[in-house]
Symmetry: none
Subunit: 416 residues, 2 copies
């Protein structure tokens, strides 16, 4: 297969005004990546003839397949057809099927068809017309200067219908895509993006097939391995091979594949061991519990929790001894430990986890913003593991990092 | 004011692979529209030097102000600086402030600084360096061939911080934006977007200056009023005038302005009345508490909560009577009422609020997915208000709607 360069252009002033995000480009990019077609540029231009012409001209020079969404509607500012006509000199004709469809629609809804509605039926004379099962304006595939141009409406539902029903089968056939693309996401926690890349520098530098793409998000890192091959098995073999090399180096931080999350992994580990958990949350204010129960099946392992935001709640609801609070304060290793012990006792759960610290904006009990203690108590063994952290960022960044770290800690304990 | 042509470029292969949508371009476009700066193109290019150079070259030819997001990170594939250097021949130097900040970060978090981390401190010699209050890599404003180039990190939180703190004030000053744009968001809860638009049909149809833009989000609706005028006062007078007309029609659903949220309003109402609250959460699993404590100052009014996800927790931790649970079940008006009473007693808070119901995916105790009871108990008056709801959507949509409704209920009670 030739390496085709694809480009995606959206036409619409609403995008340049920020009224909507260009989710069409994201959807199309994902589909094309699955088909092994490389997307090299996205562009957005408003409903303006000259600027659309200029972007189309650049695209025609640098790309092999150009996807254009939007600007095929009935109103005067829909001018994708006109812009392409002015660079290609192609003739436009009315598409009979579309005219009939529009007439039927107006007849059925008892409304008068206005002249601009005919505009939606205009197609280039030599176009392959793509019926729109979700709306009026058809899509088109046109060749110009040995480049393939694919025009689709901007309404996501219509674009997706035309892509799925017509364009993808066309691409598969015309481009002879006999290559299979497989991709796998490896998920890591407890390691920064730069450290991970540093550890994998050799592999990343010589990557070709599979490719290795790191992707950082709040408190964790993903590594997407993507392989091209002539069969699914061959692609997966390539991925397995590189995955082994990756995990030999950074396996200590690996926690799962693809669509999983660290909270889901913790849930599964608890479930498989017939273990349960309860949470005592101070600075996190219920976020650990709330994140945990986003997962289906949480009720089997999550017994409940206490949001002991005030000192009073720590004492009266959770029975943390006033001794500990007076001697060490609520933001202390000792308080965290007792919170975890007490909450697991109250809920008769295998584990108790606790979070105490300073989310900010102001310091508390003489402790800096970002000081956090997390404790995990195992009621079966009577063992406590308590850790001190220092997180950066605003109030919510600190809370989010704290919760992620709690899941990481549990994951490491359960995986031992 | 001159009519400046702006262009927004995002650098990052993850966008071309469709892993994320280009929400930065949307956010920036909206901000620039508010400032009356026309955005003429959006572009996205991958982490590839030649293609980034080529897009930068086009942008430099056709636009006056070019915003570039992404590609300023520590890794080898972050090459925005290199691409711009190769078209501008500008020299790069390490920014001392940034180096110090990176060193402090690694020192504090007890991690090893790898050599690639220094890369984030590189800035163009003649750049105006924009401190990044939300991350490491600073932003930059650079002039080249009489065009203004503004570079910012791709992480949305960091980009927004730099835009708000540095770039928008710079633009206001440098471009002598003597047309003033003022904008105000009115926030409504307890009314759907279509009902709100229906009530305001006349106003919306004849809108010009100010413009009226409705914006729906999970369980609430916003109305953005934007006015242009030659002075701030004049713009605000225009907004005040239309706001009065809006509130005459739909004031019953209004809860606050601009960056507030319903949880923040509830917090303020409680604080102003020297009242406190505690929460007993079943299906919401801690989300009400967690949302509440995202607000600064929550500790003054939020006493704590109990996440009583299991029946056992409702009985043992919250002391809901087994009588009520046996007779009515845990998903009942009676159980909700007792949960609210009990949690306010435990935390000695003015109010107790409780949430019980079925988040799904499966029905529970013979109750349909989406059945929810919320109860608010006022310990001062001994009065309970308990409501039954039926929400639609998946597990998390139901939990989110439930929490929003809880805040709405509290808001209405406190506003009486």
């Amino acid at each position: 297969m030739r390496a085709y360069k694809a480009e995606i252009i959206a036409v619409g002033t609403e995008l340049l005004l920020g009224q909507i995000a260009n989710t069409n480009a994201q959807w199309l990019s994902k589909k094309l990546a699955d088909y092994g077609i490389g997307v090299y540029f996205h562009g957005v231009v408003g409903d303006n003839l000259d600027r659309a012409k200029s972007l189309f001209t650049h695209a025609g020079e640098r790309s092999d397949i150009i996807f254009v969404t939007g600007g095929l509607g009935p109103t005067d500012d829909d001018l994708t057809r006109e812009a392409f006509q002015s660079i290609s000199n192609k003739k436009m004709v009315e598409d009979n099927e579309t005219i009939k469809k529009i007439e039927r629609y107006f007849h059925k809804s008892n409304r008068q068809m206005t002249p601009n509605n005919r505009k939606q039926s205009l197609v280039f004379e030599d176009a392959q017309v793509l019926a729109n099962s979700a709306g009026m304006a058809p899509g088109m595939i046109v060749e110009h200067n040995q480049k393939i141009w694919i025009f689709m409406p901007g309404v996501p539902r219509e674009m997706k219908a035309i892509m799925t029903e017509h364009v993808l089968p066309y691409l598969q056939k015309e481009l002879q895509l006999n290559e299979v693309i497989e991709s796998r996401m490896l998920r890591f926690i407890g390691v920064g993006e730069s450290q991970l890349e540093h550890e994998l520098k050799d592999l990343i530098e010589k990557q070709q097939n599979p490719t290795i793409a790191p992707l950082a998000s709040e408190g964790e890192v993903g590594l997407r391995l993507t392989a091209k091959a002539s069969s699914k098995k061959e692609a997966n073999d390539l991925i397995n091979h590189i995955e082994k090399q990756v995990l030999d180096k950074v396996g200590a931080f690996f926690y799962g594949y693809d669509e999983t999350s660290i909270s889901k992994q913790v849930l599964n580990l608890l479930k498989n061991n017939n273990m349960t958990i309860a949470a005592a949350e101070s600075l996190t204010g219920g976020k650990f519990s709330s994140d945990f129960v986003t997962n289906n099946g949480a009720s089997e392992v999550f017994m409940g929790g206490v949001v002991c935001y005030s000192i009073k709640a720590k004492q009266d609801v959770l029975d943390v001894s006033s001794n500990v609070i007076e001697k060490f304060g609520t933001i202390s290793r000792e308080c965290a430990e007792e919170m975890a012990v007490k909450v697991s006792g109250k809920h008769a759960s295998t584990f108790g986890i606790s979070f105490t610290g300073v989310a900010g904006p102001d310091p508390s009990e003489g402790k800096e913003v970002g000081s956090v203690f997390i404790s995990v108590y195992n009621r079966l063994t009577g063992e406590s593991i308590t850790k001190a952290y220092h997180f950066h960022g605003d109030r919510n960044a600190i809370r989010n990092r704290t919760v992620k770290k709690g899941f990481e800690l549990l994951h490491n304990i359960l995986n031992q």
